[in-house]
Protein backbone atom coordinates (compact mmCIF):
# COMPACT_ATOMS: atom_id res chain seq x y z
CA UNK A 1 0.00 0.00 0.00
CA UNK A 2 1.52 3.32 -1.03
CA UNK A 3 0.22 6.74 -0.05
CA UNK A 4 0.59 9.92 -2.09
CA UNK A 5 3.17 11.22 0.38
CA UNK A 6 5.26 8.05 -0.02
CA UNK A 7 4.92 8.04 -3.80
CA UNK A 8 5.99 11.69 -4.05
CA UNK A 9 8.86 11.16 -1.63
CA UNK A 10 10.18 8.16 -3.59
CA UNK A 11 9.79 10.02 -6.87
CA UNK A 12 11.70 13.08 -5.72
CA UNK A 13 14.45 11.00 -4.14
CA UNK A 14 15.14 9.33 -7.46
CA UNK A 15 14.65 12.27 -9.81
CA UNK A 16 17.83 14.24 -9.35
CA UNK A 17 16.65 17.28 -11.34
CA UNK A 18 13.44 17.62 -9.35
CA UNK A 19 15.23 17.00 -6.06
CA UNK A 20 17.77 19.72 -6.72
CA UNK A 21 15.20 22.27 -7.91
CA UNK A 22 13.03 21.58 -4.87
CA UNK A 23 16.01 21.91 -2.53
CA UNK A 24 16.82 25.28 -4.13
CA UNK A 25 13.22 26.46 -3.69
CA UNK A 26 12.77 27.22 -7.38
CA UNK A 27 10.13 24.67 -8.28
CA UNK A 28 6.57 25.60 -9.27
CA UNK A 29 4.84 23.22 -6.90
CA UNK A 30 1.39 23.23 -8.48
CA UNK A 31 2.73 22.78 -11.98
CA UNK A 32 4.89 19.92 -10.72
CA UNK A 33 1.86 18.28 -9.08
CA UNK A 34 -0.06 18.47 -12.37
CA UNK A 35 2.91 17.10 -14.25
CA UNK A 36 3.32 14.17 -11.84
CA UNK A 37 -0.37 13.38 -12.07
CA UNK A 38 -0.18 13.45 -15.86
CA UNK A 39 3.07 11.57 -16.38
CA UNK A 40 2.82 9.00 -13.59
CA UNK A 41 -0.84 8.11 -13.99
CA UNK A 42 -1.28 7.94 -10.21
CA UNK A 43 -4.74 7.47 -8.79
CA UNK A 44 -4.74 10.54 -6.56
CA UNK A 45 -5.55 14.25 -6.69
CA UNK A 46 -3.55 17.33 -7.63
CA UNK A 47 -4.18 18.76 -4.15
CA UNK A 48 -2.84 15.64 -2.45
CA UNK A 49 0.35 15.86 -4.53
CA UNK A 50 0.76 19.59 -3.86
CA UNK A 51 0.47 18.89 -0.16
CA UNK A 52 2.96 15.98 -0.37
CA UNK A 53 5.52 18.09 -2.25
CA UNK A 54 5.23 20.86 0.33
CA UNK A 55 5.76 18.33 3.13
CA UNK A 56 8.81 16.84 1.49
CA UNK A 57 12.09 18.06 2.92
CA UNK A 58 15.09 17.33 0.71
CA UNK A 59 17.83 15.63 2.68
CA UNK A 60 20.66 18.14 3.18
CA UNK A 61 23.09 15.20 3.44
CA UNK A 62 22.69 14.47 -0.26
CA UNK A 63 23.34 18.05 -1.38
CA UNK A 64 24.15 17.77 -5.04
CA UNK A 65 26.76 20.49 -4.77
CA UNK A 66 28.90 18.01 -2.84
CA UNK A 67 28.35 15.35 -5.50
CA UNK A 68 29.27 17.72 -8.31
CA UNK A 69 32.30 18.86 -6.37
CA UNK A 70 33.37 15.22 -6.11
CA UNK A 71 32.82 14.82 -9.85
CA UNK A 72 34.88 17.92 -10.56
CA UNK A 73 37.85 16.30 -8.87
CA UNK A 74 37.58 13.04 -10.75
CA UNK A 75 39.83 11.78 -13.55
CA UNK A 76 38.18 11.00 -16.85
CA UNK A 77 39.36 8.92 -19.81
CA UNK A 78 37.69 7.11 -22.66
CA UNK A 79 38.46 4.11 -24.85
CA UNK A 80 36.74 2.76 -27.91
CA UNK A 81 36.75 -0.42 -29.98
CA UNK A 82 35.09 -3.00 -27.75
CA UNK A 83 32.44 -5.63 -28.38
CA UNK A 84 30.24 -7.89 -26.33
CA UNK A 85 29.93 -11.54 -27.20
CA UNK A 86 26.96 -13.10 -25.46
CA UNK A 87 27.20 -16.89 -25.21
CA UNK A 88 24.56 -19.31 -23.98
CA UNK A 89 25.47 -20.29 -20.42
CA UNK A 90 25.04 -23.99 -21.20
CA UNK A 91 27.77 -26.30 -19.90
CA UNK A 92 29.44 -26.76 -23.30
CA UNK A 93 29.91 -23.01 -23.68
CA UNK A 94 31.16 -22.54 -20.13
CA UNK A 95 33.66 -25.31 -20.86
CA UNK A 96 35.12 -23.10 -23.62
CA UNK A 97 35.98 -20.26 -21.29
CA UNK A 98 39.44 -21.53 -20.26
CA UNK A 99 40.40 -21.81 -23.95
CA UNK A 100 38.97 -18.34 -24.65
CA UNK A 101 40.84 -16.59 -21.83
CA UNK A 102 43.96 -18.53 -22.80
CA UNK A 103 43.67 -17.33 -26.41
CA UNK A 104 43.10 -13.67 -25.49
CA UNK A 105 45.57 -11.28 -23.88
CA UNK A 106 44.89 -9.68 -20.51
CA UNK A 107 44.32 -6.35 -22.23
CA UNK A 108 41.74 -7.87 -24.62
CA UNK A 109 39.21 -8.94 -22.00
CA UNK A 110 37.30 -6.33 -20.10
CA UNK A 111 34.62 -8.27 -18.35
CA UNK A 112 32.87 -11.61 -17.99
CA UNK A 113 29.37 -11.02 -16.75
CA UNK A 114 26.85 -13.86 -16.47
CA UNK A 115 23.18 -13.06 -16.85
CA UNK A 116 20.04 -15.14 -17.17
CA UNK A 117 21.13 -18.11 -19.29
CA UNK A 118 23.84 -16.00 -20.98
CA UNK A 119 27.50 -15.30 -20.41
CA UNK A 120 28.52 -11.89 -21.68
CA UNK A 121 32.15 -11.38 -22.57
CA UNK A 122 33.32 -7.85 -23.23
CA UNK A 123 36.42 -8.00 -25.39
CA UNK A 124 38.52 -5.99 -27.81
CA UNK A 125 36.54 -5.71 -31.03
CA UNK A 126 39.38 -7.25 -33.06
CA UNK A 127 39.26 -10.43 -30.95
CA UNK A 128 35.59 -11.27 -31.52
CA UNK A 129 36.59 -13.75 -34.25
CA UNK A 130 38.96 -15.51 -31.84
CA UNK A 131 36.14 -16.00 -29.34
CA UNK A 132 33.68 -17.22 -31.96
CA UNK A 133 36.23 -19.72 -33.31
CA UNK A 134 36.31 -21.40 -29.92
CA UNK A 135 32.60 -21.88 -29.21
CA UNK A 136 30.46 -24.85 -30.31
CA UNK A 137 28.12 -22.74 -32.45
CA UNK A 138 28.62 -19.18 -33.69
CA UNK A 139 24.91 -18.97 -34.45
CA UNK A 140 24.02 -19.29 -30.78
CA UNK A 141 26.14 -16.26 -29.90
CA UNK A 142 25.04 -12.63 -30.07
CA UNK A 143 27.66 -10.04 -30.90
CA UNK A 144 27.32 -6.31 -30.21
CA UNK A 145 30.15 -4.42 -31.86
CA UNK A 146 31.19 -0.79 -31.68
CA UNK A 147 31.23 -0.17 -27.95
CA UNK A 148 33.27 2.35 -26.07
CA UNK A 149 33.72 3.12 -22.44
CA UNK A 150 34.08 6.19 -20.32
CA UNK A 151 36.20 5.66 -17.25
CA UNK A 152 35.67 7.91 -14.29
CA UNK A 153 37.91 7.71 -11.29
CA UNK A 154 36.20 9.41 -8.35
CA UNK A 155 38.47 10.42 -5.52
CA UNK A 156 36.49 8.83 -2.71
CA UNK A 157 34.16 5.97 -1.84
CA UNK A 158 30.82 6.12 -0.03
CA UNK A 159 27.33 7.43 -0.62
CA UNK A 160 28.45 10.53 -2.52
CA UNK A 161 30.35 8.37 -5.00
CA UNK A 162 27.30 6.12 -5.53
CA UNK A 163 25.14 9.18 -6.16
CA UNK A 164 27.75 10.59 -8.55
CA UNK A 165 27.55 7.39 -10.58
CA UNK A 166 23.74 7.64 -10.75
CA UNK A 167 24.02 11.27 -11.88
CA UNK A 168 26.44 10.40 -14.65
CA UNK A 169 24.08 7.74 -16.00
CA UNK A 170 21.18 10.21 -15.84
CA UNK A 171 23.12 13.02 -17.51
CA UNK A 172 24.02 10.76 -20.41
CA UNK A 173 20.41 9.57 -20.63
CA UNK A 174 19.15 13.14 -20.91
CA UNK A 175 21.67 13.73 -23.68
CA UNK A 176 20.08 10.82 -25.54
CA UNK A 177 23.05 8.51 -24.89
CA UNK A 178 22.09 5.10 -23.54
CA UNK A 179 24.52 3.53 -21.12
CA UNK A 180 24.52 -0.18 -21.95
CA UNK A 181 26.55 -1.38 -19.00
CA UNK A 182 28.12 -0.04 -15.87
CA UNK A 183 31.10 -1.51 -14.08
CA UNK A 184 31.29 0.41 -10.87
CA UNK A 185 34.16 -0.67 -8.68
CA UNK A 186 33.70 2.49 -6.73
CA UNK A 187 35.65 4.78 -6.66
CA UNK A 188 36.22 3.75 -10.29
CA UNK A 189 33.33 3.47 -12.76
CA UNK A 190 33.26 2.50 -16.40
CA UNK A 191 30.19 3.43 -18.43
CA UNK A 192 29.81 1.44 -21.64
CA UNK A 193 28.16 3.25 -24.57
CA UNK A 194 28.03 2.68 -28.32
CA UNK A 195 31.21 3.73 -30.08
CA UNK A 196 29.86 6.62 -32.20
CA UNK A 197 28.34 8.01 -28.98
CA UNK A 198 31.54 7.82 -27.00
CA UNK A 199 33.00 11.25 -27.88
CA UNK A 200 29.59 12.89 -27.29
CA UNK A 201 29.16 10.97 -24.06
CA UNK A 202 32.64 11.99 -22.98
CA UNK A 203 31.84 15.65 -23.69
CA UNK A 204 28.59 15.37 -21.68
CA UNK A 205 30.34 13.86 -18.71
CA UNK A 206 33.08 16.47 -18.95
CA UNK A 207 30.50 19.28 -19.02
CA UNK A 208 29.00 17.97 -15.78
CA UNK A 209 32.38 17.59 -14.21
CA UNK A 210 33.53 21.07 -15.22
CA UNK A 211 30.59 22.64 -13.44
CA UNK A 212 32.88 23.57 -10.58
Amino acid sequence: MTTTVEAVEKYVQTDIALHESLARGILNVRQTARWLLETQGWDTTEEAIVSAIRRYKPDPDVALDDVFHLLSESDLTFDTGFATVSLPSAREYRACLPAITDALDARDTLAILPERKRLNLMVDEERVGTVLDLVPSRAACRVTQGLGQINVHLQQEGKLASTALAILVNVLGYQGIAVHSVFGIIPTCSLVVTDPDTPAAFTSVEAVIKRF
Binding site: M1, I26, T44, R94, P114, E157, G173, R211
Partner: protein
Protein backbone atom coordinates in the same frame (compact mmCIF):
# COMPACT_ATOMS: atom_id res chain seq x y z
CA UNK B 1 32.23 40.05 -20.83
CA UNK B 2 29.29 37.96 -22.12
CA UNK B 3 25.83 39.52 -22.26
CA UNK B 4 23.07 38.25 -19.97
CA UNK B 5 21.53 35.95 -22.58
CA UNK B 6 24.86 34.28 -23.31
CA UNK B 7 25.74 34.00 -19.63
CA UNK B 8 22.37 32.41 -18.77
CA UNK B 9 22.73 29.97 -21.68
CA UNK B 10 26.22 29.10 -20.44
CA UNK B 11 24.93 28.46 -16.91
CA UNK B 12 22.09 26.27 -18.17
CA UNK B 13 24.57 24.27 -20.21
CA UNK B 14 26.35 23.37 -16.98
CA UNK B 15 23.33 23.13 -14.68
CA UNK B 16 21.81 19.83 -15.61
CA UNK B 17 19.03 19.93 -12.99
CA UNK B 18 17.91 23.45 -13.92
CA UNK B 19 17.86 22.60 -17.60
CA UNK B 20 15.74 19.49 -17.12
CA UNK B 21 13.31 21.26 -14.79
CA UNK B 22 12.97 24.19 -17.20
CA UNK B 23 12.43 21.87 -20.14
CA UNK B 24 9.67 20.18 -18.21
CA UNK B 25 8.03 23.57 -17.55
CA UNK B 26 8.12 23.03 -13.78
CA UNK B 27 10.14 26.04 -12.74
CA UNK B 28 9.00 28.96 -10.63
CA UNK B 29 10.64 31.43 -12.98
CA UNK B 30 10.73 34.40 -10.60
CA UNK B 31 12.37 32.27 -7.93
CA UNK B 32 14.80 30.88 -10.49
CA UNK B 33 15.77 34.39 -11.65
CA UNK B 34 16.45 35.48 -8.09
CA UNK B 35 18.41 32.28 -7.40
CA UNK B 36 20.55 32.74 -10.53
CA UNK B 37 21.31 36.38 -9.67
CA UNK B 38 22.36 35.43 -6.15
CA UNK B 39 24.12 32.13 -6.84
CA UNK B 40 26.04 33.32 -9.91
CA UNK B 41 26.41 36.97 -8.82
CA UNK B 42 24.81 38.13 -12.06
CA UNK B 43 24.83 41.84 -12.67
CA UNK B 44 21.29 41.96 -14.10
CA UNK B 45 17.73 42.36 -12.89
CA UNK B 46 14.97 39.72 -12.65
CA UNK B 47 13.36 40.94 -15.88
CA UNK B 48 16.61 40.66 -17.86
CA UNK B 49 17.24 37.14 -16.55
CA UNK B 50 13.66 36.14 -17.27
CA UNK B 51 14.04 37.44 -20.84
CA UNK B 52 17.28 35.47 -21.21
CA UNK B 53 15.53 32.33 -19.94
CA UNK B 54 12.78 32.80 -22.51
CA UNK B 55 15.37 33.16 -25.25
CA UNK B 56 17.00 29.92 -24.20
CA UNK B 57 15.49 27.18 -26.25
CA UNK B 58 15.57 23.85 -24.47
CA UNK B 59 14.31 20.68 -26.04
CA UNK B 60 12.29 18.41 -23.80
CA UNK B 61 13.87 15.06 -23.21
CA UNK B 62 11.63 13.11 -20.88
CA UNK B 63 12.53 9.72 -22.29
CA UNK B 64 15.26 8.23 -20.13
CA UNK B 65 13.87 8.73 -16.64
CA UNK B 66 10.32 7.76 -17.54
CA UNK B 67 11.57 4.70 -19.41
CA UNK B 68 13.68 3.72 -16.41
CA UNK B 69 10.72 4.11 -14.07
CA UNK B 70 8.44 2.16 -16.35
CA UNK B 71 11.00 -0.64 -16.49
CA UNK B 72 11.65 -0.57 -12.75
CA UNK B 73 7.98 -1.09 -11.97
CA UNK B 74 8.33 -4.58 -13.47
CA UNK B 75 11.77 -5.65 -12.30
CA UNK B 76 12.30 -8.74 -10.22
CA UNK B 77 14.42 -8.15 -7.15
CA UNK B 78 16.27 -11.03 -5.63
CA UNK B 79 19.49 -11.99 -4.06
CA UNK B 80 21.05 -12.02 -0.68
CA UNK B 81 23.81 -14.44 -1.60
CA UNK B 82 26.94 -14.02 0.57
CA UNK B 83 29.53 -12.81 -1.90
CA UNK B 84 33.29 -12.53 -1.78
CA UNK B 85 35.36 -10.10 -3.79
CA UNK B 86 38.86 -10.84 -4.98
CA UNK B 87 41.02 -8.01 -6.29
CA UNK B 88 43.31 -9.80 -8.68
CA UNK B 89 46.42 -8.58 -10.48
CA UNK B 90 45.78 -8.02 -14.18
CA UNK B 91 48.50 -10.21 -15.68
CA UNK B 92 48.69 -12.75 -18.48
CA UNK B 93 49.05 -15.53 -15.91
CA UNK B 94 45.86 -14.53 -14.12
CA UNK B 95 44.00 -13.81 -17.32
CA UNK B 96 44.65 -17.31 -18.65
CA UNK B 97 43.10 -18.75 -15.49
CA UNK B 98 39.97 -16.62 -15.46
CA UNK B 99 38.04 -19.06 -17.64
CA UNK B 100 38.83 -21.88 -15.23
CA UNK B 101 36.98 -20.06 -12.47
CA UNK B 102 33.75 -21.03 -14.15
CA UNK B 103 34.62 -24.67 -13.55
CA UNK B 104 34.98 -23.88 -9.84
CA UNK B 105 31.32 -22.96 -9.57
CA UNK B 106 30.26 -25.77 -11.89
CA UNK B 107 27.57 -24.00 -13.82
CA UNK B 108 25.28 -23.13 -10.96
CA UNK B 109 23.68 -19.90 -12.14
CA UNK B 110 23.10 -18.47 -8.67
CA UNK B 111 26.72 -19.07 -7.73
CA UNK B 112 28.16 -17.60 -10.89
CA UNK B 113 31.41 -15.71 -11.18
CA UNK B 114 31.56 -12.11 -12.31
CA UNK B 115 34.79 -10.64 -13.61
CA UNK B 116 34.92 -6.89 -14.09
CA UNK B 117 37.81 -4.57 -14.88
CA UNK B 118 39.46 -2.13 -12.54
CA UNK B 119 42.66 -0.12 -12.87
CA UNK B 120 45.48 -2.67 -13.26
CA UNK B 121 43.29 -5.39 -11.78
CA UNK B 122 40.34 -7.64 -12.32
CA UNK B 123 37.69 -7.72 -9.67
CA UNK B 124 36.22 -11.18 -9.26
CA UNK B 125 32.91 -11.49 -7.42
CA UNK B 126 31.67 -14.95 -6.54
CA UNK B 127 29.71 -16.91 -3.98
CA UNK B 128 31.46 -16.95 -0.61
CA UNK B 129 31.53 -20.77 -0.56
CA UNK B 130 33.69 -20.83 -3.69
CA UNK B 131 36.13 -18.09 -2.73
CA UNK B 132 38.84 -20.35 -1.25
CA UNK B 133 38.85 -22.52 -4.35
CA UNK B 134 39.00 -19.42 -6.59
CA UNK B 135 42.02 -18.13 -4.65
CA UNK B 136 43.71 -21.48 -5.23
CA UNK B 137 42.94 -21.41 -8.98
CA UNK B 138 44.14 -17.82 -9.46
CA UNK B 139 47.13 -18.16 -7.14
CA UNK B 140 47.24 -16.56 -3.70
CA UNK B 141 50.19 -14.37 -4.71
CA UNK B 142 48.01 -12.74 -7.38
CA UNK B 143 45.27 -11.70 -4.96
CA UNK B 144 45.86 -8.17 -3.69
CA UNK B 145 42.85 -8.11 -1.42
CA UNK B 146 39.91 -10.29 -0.46
CA UNK B 147 36.65 -9.05 1.06
CA UNK B 148 33.94 -11.40 2.32
CA UNK B 149 31.33 -9.09 3.73
CA UNK B 150 29.17 -8.42 0.69
CA UNK B 151 25.77 -9.57 -0.48
CA UNK B 152 24.62 -9.58 -4.06
CA UNK B 153 21.31 -7.96 -4.97
CA UNK B 154 20.03 -8.84 -8.41
CA UNK B 155 17.69 -6.62 -10.47
CA UNK B 156 16.21 -8.56 -13.35
CA UNK B 157 14.50 -6.53 -16.08
CA UNK B 158 11.21 -8.12 -17.04
CA UNK B 159 9.27 -5.80 -19.30
CA UNK B 160 9.60 -4.82 -22.92
CA UNK B 161 11.37 -1.54 -22.05
CA UNK B 162 15.11 -1.92 -21.58
CA UNK B 163 16.44 1.52 -20.72
CA UNK B 164 20.09 0.56 -20.39
CA UNK B 165 21.54 1.52 -17.07
CA UNK B 166 18.71 3.94 -16.19
CA UNK B 167 17.10 1.47 -13.81
CA UNK B 168 20.29 0.95 -11.86
CA UNK B 169 20.76 4.73 -11.58
CA UNK B 170 17.22 4.90 -10.20
CA UNK B 171 17.99 2.18 -7.65
CA UNK B 172 21.27 3.79 -6.57
CA UNK B 173 19.57 7.17 -6.11
CA UNK B 174 16.82 5.61 -3.97
CA UNK B 175 19.35 3.77 -1.81
CA UNK B 176 21.62 6.81 -1.45
CA UNK B 177 18.63 8.87 -0.32
CA UNK B 178 18.20 6.36 2.51
CA UNK B 179 21.90 6.41 3.43
CA UNK B 180 22.74 3.08 1.84
CA UNK B 181 26.02 2.99 0.01
CA UNK B 182 26.39 0.89 -3.12
CA UNK B 183 30.08 -0.05 -3.23
CA UNK B 184 29.94 -2.01 -6.48
CA UNK B 185 27.64 -2.17 -9.49
CA UNK B 186 27.76 -4.40 -12.56
CA UNK B 187 25.10 -4.20 -15.22
CA UNK B 188 24.37 -6.19 -18.33
CA UNK B 189 21.53 -5.86 -20.85
CA UNK B 190 18.94 -7.74 -18.81
CA UNK B 191 20.32 -8.08 -15.31
CA UNK B 192 21.92 -5.62 -12.97
CA UNK B 193 23.83 -6.45 -9.83
CA UNK B 194 24.41 -4.32 -6.77
CA UNK B 195 27.01 -5.51 -4.33
CA UNK B 196 26.02 -4.20 -0.94
CA UNK B 197 27.55 -4.31 2.48
CA UNK B 198 26.18 -7.32 4.33
CA UNK B 199 24.27 -5.30 6.93
CA UNK B 200 22.46 -3.19 4.32
CA UNK B 201 20.91 -5.79 2.07
CA UNK B 202 17.62 -6.35 3.95
CA UNK B 203 16.89 -2.64 4.13
CA UNK B 204 17.96 -2.16 0.49
CA UNK B 205 15.53 -4.82 -0.72
CA UNK B 206 12.76 -3.18 1.29
CA UNK B 207 13.55 0.27 -0.17
CA UNK B 208 13.66 -1.01 -3.74
CA UNK B 209 10.39 -2.92 -3.31
CA UNK B 210 8.80 0.27 -1.97
CA UNK B 211 10.21 2.15 -4.96
CA UNK B 212 8.57 -0.34 -7.32
CA UNK B 213 5.29 0.05 -5.50
CA UNK B 214 5.51 3.84 -5.51
CA UNK B 215 5.99 3.89 -9.28
CA UNK B 216 2.74 2.00 -9.65
CA UNK B 217 1.19 4.85 -7.69
CA UNK B 218 -0.81 5.69 -4.60
CA UNK B 219 -3.52 3.18 -3.82
CA UNK B 220 -4.79 4.58 -0.56
CA UNK B 221 -5.14 7.97 0.97
Amino acid sequence: MPNTTDRVAEILEQEFALRVTLERGLMNRQALCRWLIKHYSLDAGVDAIDKALREWDGATSEGPLQAARQAFAHVKLSGNSPTSLLYVKRSEEVHDKLGSLFAVVDGEEEDDVRVVPDIGEFLVALDHDHADEAVRVLGAKNIRKREDNFRLLRITLQGPVHPGAGTVALAISALAACDIEVPHVFTGPTEQFLLLNEGDVGEALKILRELKQSILGPDEE
